[in-house]
């Protein structure tokens, strides 16, 4: 049954997420605690300043107060517990999205809660990458089918070579090239950002965002569609050699119908898998290219967090990226199961 499969896959994904977060918490426990300690000290010092403005304190009072408050916060953050317990505590906090407070980065509203900071950039990354993926699939399908129709011919060969040329090209470098060409030489597109300042309102806001999205989108598409076309070609080509295609042709079905009715229907599951996988690969492999375009998404947040050495934001960003990545993999499997009738009707695996 499909829903059984779906539930199992989702539970699997959640389990993986928990294990990964646990490992990360263990790995980064020391540095996270150091940051927590400095933050506590800062808070206590701030409190002391506040009290001293109201009344004078003796040196001894200050000492005592300082120690007391440090202990208090230390307990709150479980700093007095054994290591293993602390790691479990940290894992639980991460899993419930309590990432703590940032050291310097602030959200749009000026908050310092890490989850708010990271969560507000997620839609931007998701919108950029999904639009890119949609364009990639369309171009890739179109080109892949054309390639598969005449394998080994000029179009097929030349595009295959192009695939290999972009194989090891960093997306962010292509981004730099496009910025140099389109922003500074031709002055066609803005060099970065998501909207102009001040941001326009209404429909203009949307158009302005599209205008800013043009270059990063172009980069992702230029790097991505060759690969999708190449894989589509391979999948379609292998299906075209199947018997049922031959019989369809022998029955005298028009080529269009053979192509779009029979071949593409069969090719759908692997093609969708490939497209989503390549999208996830971009997230896992070149997300920092957002930094080149100052596109204020998750990738850009890595740049900001690294340059400001904001460890809590870095960790929160990582946990959320891992979460999104795993959700992507789960969704991929769910779609695959939906498209593949053998899984949908619960055929034996």
């Amino acid at each position: 049954m499909y829903w059984k499969y779906a539930v199992r896959r989702i539970l699997n994904g959640i389990l993986s997420y928990i294990i990964i977060i646990f490992i990360l918490s263990a790995l980064f426990n020391t540095v996270m605690e150091e940051t927590a300690r400095t933050q506590i000290e800062e808070t206590v010092r701030g409190e002391l300043m506040g009290i001293q403005q109201a009344r004078q304190m003796t040196a001894e009072e200050i000492q005592n107060y300082y120690r007391e408050r440090l202990d208090f916060f230390g307990k709150q953050y479980m700093l007095d517990r054994p290591v293993f317990e602390r790691i479990l505590f940290r894992t639980w906090n991460t899993l419930t999205f309590r990432f703590g407070r940032s050291t310097s980065i602030r959200s749009a509203q000026g908050e310092r809660d890490v989850f708010t900071i990271v969560w507000e950039v997620v839609p931007r990354t998701v919108s950029l990458f999904t639009v890119a993926m949609a364009i990639n699939i369309m171009i890739g399908l179109w080109l892949g089918i054309r390639k598969a129709r005449k394998p080994g011919k000029t179009l097929d060969k030349s595009t295959s070579i192009a695939t290999m040329i972009v194989f090891g090209m960093p997306a962010w470098w292509l981004g730099m090239m496009l910025i140099m060409l389109f922003s500074y030489t031709l002055r066609l597109f803005p060099s970065g950002g998501m909207v102009s300042t001040p941001p326009p309102t209404g429909i203009h806001y949307f158009l302005d965002m599209l205008y800013h999205m043009a270059l990063p989108l172009m980069t992702l598409v230029l790097i991505g569609f060759w690969g999708s076309a190449f894989l589509t070609r391979n999948i379609v080509l292998s299906i075209l050699q199947e018997d049922f295609i031959m019989s369809a042709r022998a029955r005298g079905l028009p080529e269009r119908k053979v192509m779009y009715g029979h071949t593409l229907r069969t090719a759908a599951p692997p093609v969708v898998t490939m497209a989503l996988l390549s999208l996830l690969a971009t997230v896992a492999g070149s997300i920092i290219f957002e930094g080149i375009f100052s596109w204020p998404g998750l990738g850009n947040l890595y740049w900001v967090a690294v340059s400001q050495n904001d460890i809590p934001v870095l960790m929160g960003n990582l946990s959320l990226t891992v979460g999104l990545y795993i959700s992507g993999l789960v969704i991929l499997d769910l779609i695959y199961g939906f498209l593949d009738p053998r899984i949908k009707v619960g055929g034996r695996r």
């Binding site: 993986s16 990964i20 980064f28 090891g168 960093p170 470098w173 890595y302 870095l314």
Partner: protein
């Protein structure tokens, strides 16, 4: 599998590989990179670039942020090229007390735009009084430096820079020829000494200089008051307006030298990571297939967890927190890359496991260790090489990405770090393409090389298994 078998296998493989044109192109490019690595000291003007990339003293004679020398072919105005000339003529004049040297340098200037700077180096020992004069092609004598005291000592060159040390004289020389109204508006800081020296001595020398082509002679009089002092050698360096094969960056480093120095690191990072990752992956996959049962199930679970890790974000955070050296980074990358070949290897392993020769050697009492490493893994070697080739570009790009964020190992020079410096210094904004295009291009070409090789191997090996 004996050595003879292996050689025959390789021979067969080669005869098939030869037929794939893209594979051959890949091999040629690979050879090109190997040549760059092996002959690095001969190919670059700054052979110590690799070890002294971040040592500003090593680069101080270069101009900063100038385009490549061959750009002259595309412009009407020819710009002076950086050169180093060691043919200075040193003569010692007899004097009663102390030592007196006369050094004569000649510079053939055939350009329209004067160099950025010209630096005279003195090597020797002792305290000296130096006077520097210049004779231009039209016979005008100019005093560049009036008896300046310099201290020479072993291992430290004394640098006399026209741009830094002769501003007052350049200004004086300019004002004697320039219109008062023009020179009155200028100050020493607003002129470029080399622009003045290499121009016709006429009106406009300071605001619209006209290049005077020909041979310039520079003479340095070096006087030591002590007999123990000596001048060993002397040479000059022209810091041009165009420089080297790929220009220089804003910190005066020669980009071509940096790129060649980065080649060996790119190859090392790529190949070592791919080798370790594929090695782990293949052994893991075969072990899973061979062991079967709950062990296999457990290994599959671990594998799936590794599959759901986004590699680059993790690498970035690990690098940001632990600041690993390049070796640790390679190790980390292999620890995440090994998942690639596992699925295929496992399915191939499951097939091999059922082969009769495995059964036969099992019956002969072979240990599992022997079965896995002696019988199963050798059969997977061709596949491993194909997948290895496809991991190399990924490893290089990942290192470059980590470096781009400024988290790379600063003791070495990689293409990613050159790009990071370029990005930080606004090379993209200033259209300093010679600083941005080549490093990325090399990353892309290196990736392409291994993609060509890998896809060609894939074409031959995929997906049928070669059994003996």
């Amino acid at each position: 599998m004996t050595f003879k078998d292996m050689r025959r296998g390789l021979g067969e493989f080669w005869s098939e590989f030869r037929k794939v044109k893209s594979g051959i192109v890949g091999l040629v490019l690979f050879a090109f990179f190997l040549i760059l690595v092996i002959f690095e000291p001969l190919l670059v003007p700054f052979p110590e670039a690799s070890s002294r990339w971040n040592d500003m003293a090593y680069w101080q004679d270069n101009p900063s942020g100038v385009p490549p020398a061959w750009m002259n072919a595309f412009t009407d105005q020819k710009r002076a090229i950086s050169v180093r000339d060691e043919n200075a003529h040193i003569t010692e004049n007899e004097i009663t007390r102390g030592r007196m040297y006369e050094v004569v340098y000649s510079y053939d200037y055939q350009y329209d735009v004067a160099p950025r700077d010209m630096i005279f180096h003195l090597v020797g020992d002792g305290t000296a009084q130096v006077m520097l004069t210049m004779t231009s092609p039209d016979g005008i004598n100019v005093i560049l430096m009036r008896s300046t005291t310099v201290r020479l000592s072993e291992g430290i060159n004394v640098r006399l820079s026209l741009d830094n040390d002769t501003r007052d004289n350049a200004f004086r020389f300019g004002t004697t020829h320039e219109d008062r109204a023009v020179s009155g508006r200028l100050t020493q800081q607003l002129i470029r000494p080399t622009d003045v020296y290499f121009s016709k001595a006429q009106f406009g020398i300071m605001n619209r200089p006209e290049a005077l082509k020909g041979t310039y002679t520079f003479t340095a009089q070096v006087f030591f008051s002590s007999d123990q002092s000596r001048l060993d050698e002397s040479f000059y360096v022209v810091a041009g307006r165009v420089s080297g094969f790929l220009g220089t960056d804003i910190r005066k480093r020669d980009i071509w030298s940096g790129i060649v120095a980065g080649t060996k690191w790119a190859l090392l990072i790529g190949m070592l990571t791919a080798l370790m990752a594929v090695g782990i992956g293949v052994i893991y996959g075969v072990m899973g297939a061979y062991l079967g049962g709950w062990k296999d199930a457990l290994m599959q679970r671990i594998f799936e967890i590794f599959l759901s890790i986004p590699i680059l974000p993790i690498l970035i955070v690990l690098s940001a927190v632990f600041r690993p050296s390049i070796w640790i980074l390679i190790l980390l990358m292999s620890m995440f890359f090994w998942t690639g070949p596992v699925k295929t290897v496992r399915s191939i392993g499951l097939q091999i496991k059922e082969e009769t020769f495995i059964e036969a050697s099992k019956a002969l009492g072979a240990s599992s260790w022997r079965l896995i490493f002696k019988h199963m893994i050798p059969l997977l070697i061709p596949y491993s090489f194909a997948s290895m080739a496809l991991y190399i570009p990924q490893a290089i790009v990942f290192e470059a990405s980590v470096s781009l964020l400024g988290l790379g190992d600063r003791t070495i020079v990689t293409w990613g770090q050159i790009l990071q410096d370029a990005w930080r210094s606004g090379a993209v904004l200033n259209s300093q393409w010679w600083w941005v295009v080549p490093p990325g291009m090399f990353v892309a070409i290196m990736g392409m090389t291994f993609a060509f090789i890998g896809f060609a191997m894939d074409k031959i090996l995929h997906p049928k298994l070669r059994t003996r």
